[in-house]
Symmetry: C2
Subunit: 408 residues, 2 copies
């Protein structure tokens, strides 16, 4: 008999009929004797509706009042799910973030959880009740309602699982697990039974948006056993995200192929090759709140260097503006921008003990005539920037080359 | 520079454009140097939408969870009004009932206010902020969200005005004040500049649904100066509801003609005329949570009595069922029901010092051939039950007879 935290997203809670389905699933676990804490998001579309109302009234909405408005979406969901559970005979009680209480800092719209008082939840669980908690929200030390930012319901689930030392945190989504790559691009993509937190972080940050990155970091830090499952399928074990690299020997070295279309490359040409130059370029960009991803520096023969890095496309114009301002200071000859890039990565904790992954990746791409524009590596991934038109081709051939295709 | 509590109902808050109008009105008072606490209802239609969602999920919704769901309507309103105020340069801060905190008992869906902590509000007011408070809701001693029942936002406004010792509590509605009778029936109906709490109670309970009765009782008890105004008109003083009977000598004896279509009459025929019989009839009816209104007992010549009373039409079948069960016990010969009744009342604090009001009322009705079926009186009103088809005629002739018509 386990203590399980389940989280259901907005799509799973999208209508009374779907909420009844969630209730039936929760009831099944409850009937098996498990103790259950259920975290829910707002009904799909509701948060957008509330944001639109606020924006109709304010050109620059105050984050405190915005949180007051949007936090109602999850509050409606918890009440409705508790009612649906009670209606099928399952004792249930709902809690807002403030009632739990989930204490956060006062960074409205992007608050961080500081602590959770789990006393009331434990009391209800010991009385056999299912406890339904509003995701995405908390309360600061002054009693103001805060929100954790979009997708924050995953974080609420993981944080509650950590505080309660739950046996498992189950995240129900509209996919049935984490795949070796996007099945829309590679129909042979395989669902993974397990993936490590590190791999999941690389997969998530590279565009496989199954889980919110912050919740995965949180789960890794607090050793919460995290499982991704589909709320629309009755059976299936989903994908377990584990701390340990507990694969058998037959497991492939590479777990998956991730990709991201949203890449743009900036090159600062002819900067003096001297200490501190990287900081002089990246510093002002970071100060403008722009995330820099891949970075490369090439030293030319004339004593100057070319400095390249990627940003998300939405930040490209802003980045060019920043660099135009510092161009003279850093003594650069020119600044070039390229929007037609994408990033493809092979990810796997096995690669650090298997040399030759990079070589295999580069050869596979070269055999298809795909030119690699930038390379970056970490312990568990190798990323390349290539022309965007080659994205699908690159993902397909790499998926096959690393033996990830489903064997039917 | 006064401390004013203003309350805006759901119609006034019905759309972003209307919320902007409320913000502009509040801003005007703020600019005049007044300190303002603004109580708001849910946007019109929102509470019904939430109730429908809950009812789609539960055949008998738990009141605690129902309150969790429906209280979000007012929470959205306070955030939106605070944003609208800030957008036009007025510093504003919103509070849920729980944040204030408005402490209630735990009678979910019909909670009573036990106390109000006004410290936070006073602090914000002293900083020049407009304080926006969610109507209709509070929090019990265990931190559960409660609601005061439909129309409870008026009560929130009056309770806050009492706690803050406000100079005035202004209730903004879709009418511009209290009228001598319904202008849809008598076009010559006049808006009253003042009315006493007692008269207002009689007018409200008799069908002039401008203010929630409970809020009027509350205002009378705590001597809160209450004013009803239109939120759709820029000018106008509305109607002031006062404690004292501070009329000038010229004021008519009667303040208004109230009426209620929702009446049904039950007659229990041939009950033994003995002590306790009234209780034996009315007791079981009250136990079934049915409100009994006018009561008459006639003693016949054969030592039996006929006992009649009115209930609201929706309760008629239930009442007949109750009495059918006790018929044998009380020894009644028969039970008769009549649905085609209505009640018309003349109301005025002046009548207790002016004999002849009843006589004038009965004569006026008799001159039109209207048969009086039941009569009940109090210190400040005389009510008659008549056939419903005569309602408009009765109201019109009484309005004229008591000199209430507007003199243009």
């Amino acid at each position: 008999m386990a203590l399980i935290v389940q989280k259901y997203g907005g799509t799973s809670m999208g209508s009374p009929e779907r909420i009844k389905n969630v209730a039936r699933r929760v009831a099944k676990f409850h009937a098996q004797g498990h103790r259950l804490v259920v975290v829910v998001s707002a009904m799909s579309g509701e948060t957008n509706r509330l944001v639109a109302l606020a924006q109709a009234l304010s050109r620059a909405p105050d984050p405190r009042e915005m949180d007051m408005v949007v936090s109602t979406g999850e509050q409606v969901s918890i009440g409705l799910l508790a009612l649906a559970l009670q209606d099928i005979g399952v004792p249930a009680k709902s809690y807002t973030g403030g009632q739990v209480k989930i204490l956060t800092d006062s960074a409205f719209s992007k608050a961080r959880i500081l602590g959770i008082d789990e006393a009331a939840i434990r009391r209800d669980l010991s009385e056999g009740k299912v406890v339904v908690v509003a995701g995405f929200q908390g309360v600061d030390a002054d009693g103001n309602i805060t929100t954790l930012g979009r997708g924050g319901s995953d974080t609420t689930g993981v944080a509650l699982a950590a505080a309660l030392k739950a046996d498992e945190c189950q995240i129900y989504t509209d996919v049935d697990g984490v795949y070796t790559t996007d099945p829309r691009i590679v129909p042979e993509a395989r669902k993974l039974d397990t993936i490590t937190f590190e791999e999941m972080l690389e997969m998530a940050s590279l565009g496989s948006k199954v889980l919110q990155i912050r919740s995965v970091e949180f789960a890794g830090k607090y050793k919460v056993k995290l499982r991704v499952l589909s709320s629309f399928e009755e059976e299936g074990e989903g994908t377990l995200i584990t701390v340990e690299e507990n694969r058998n020997m037959e497991q492939p070295v590479i777990s998956g192929i991730a990709f991201n279309r949203d890449e743009a490359k900036i090159t600062v040409l002819g900067v003096p090759d001297q200490p501190g130059i990287a900081y002089q370029i990246v510093g002002p960009v970071a100060e403008a709140n722009i995330d820099v991803d891949m970075i490369i520096q090439n030293v030319g023969r004339d004593g100057t260097a070319d400095f390249s890095f990627t940003v998300s496309r939405g930040d490209l114009d802003k980045t060019v503006n920043v660099l135009d301002r510092v161009k003279a200071v850093i003594g650069a000859k020119a600044i070039e921008a390229d929007k037609n890039l994408c990033k493809v990565s092979v990810v796997g904790v096995g690669m650090h003990s298997h040399p030759g992954v990079a070589a295999k990746m580069f050869r596979t791409l070269s055999e298809e005539g795909i030119n690699i524009r930038m390379i970056s590596t970490s312990e568990i991934k190798i990323s390349v920037a290539i022309e965007e038109k080659y994205l699908e081709l690159a993902v397909r051939v790499l998926h096959k080359a690393f033996d990830l295709d489903r064997h039917i």
